[in-house]
Symmetry: C2
């Protein structure tokens, strides 16, 4: 797969961008949960009806995975090389047939003191359902590759 990656130099403080959408299927919710978070209310529709949400909902891991999937499919993908940490909240659940989009803003960036080939970046993201409700807020801090130096031209 060929795609354009944005390096540390390509993103300015305050830049923001939109990505998406990903439509979530029942099979995806159940399949993900069976493998990684097999709670009855993520894999069984009857148990989901009796749950606090009353319907089948994606697990928190799956919700975070959807944000990663959407970002990876984006033309705006950042050349992240290591995730350092994040603060995440899940104000509303992801449900079957929700169309999910992602809004991201660069809220901090600085050169790395110890690694000249990377920068440290913090982004603030909101992930939304089609009805406009927020399903995830995330501040994430990660290392981003700096643009490689062009190879020196050979003198003629």
């Amino acid at each position: 797969m060929e795609y354009y990656m944005r390096y540390y130099e390509d993103i300015e403080l305050g830049d923001s961008w939109h990505n998406g959408a990903h439509r979530v299927s029942k099979e995806e919710i159940i399949g993900f949960a069976r493998q990684w978070d097999p709670q009855p209310f993520h894999i069984d529709e009857q148990a989901a009806r009796d749950s606090v949400f009353g319907v089948l909902t994606a697990s928190s891991v799956h919700t975070y995975a959807i944000s990663s999937l959407i970002a990876s499919r984006s033309e705006n993908e950042i050349a992240a090389v290591a995730m350092l940490g994040m603060e995440v909240s899940f104000p509303n659940p992801v449900r079957v047939e929700d169309d999910i989009t992602l809004e991201t803003e660069c809220i901090e960036k600085r050169a790395s003191r110890s690694r000249p080939e990377v920068g440290v970046m913090k982004t603030r993201a909101r992930m939304l359902r089609g009805d406009g409700e927020i399903v995830m807020k995330m501040d994430a801090t990660f290392l981003v590759a700096r643009r490689p130096e062009p190879a020196p031209a050979t003198p003629v």
Copy 2:
């Protein structure tokens, strides 16, 4: 699958427990990343050698998923009914053949003001590799089911 679930009443402030282990395979790292975070250094060993870690590493989503998997297989599983939010850091990466374990402590608990059937709980977790290095720290806040009232005995 039948297992014992711990309700809000079953966990005291300061309680801690250990879970695990899960051995991470190369196929699991590559398979997860192909589906949810297809960065070259998560799915290609040559790209991984050229990455900041120098070896194949699990994505952050996969690392979080492993914690969820380990918790779900545990005899100590908490009857969590909704994840509200979390603060996570990834001090070291998960690598091929790492044996992952999870240590969790209850650091806050309180009744819910609006929902008598649940409590709010905060746990602090550390996930470790076999060599003792921490691969994830997580403070997670979630709703936990309260123990259901026994059905009233029928007077005879």
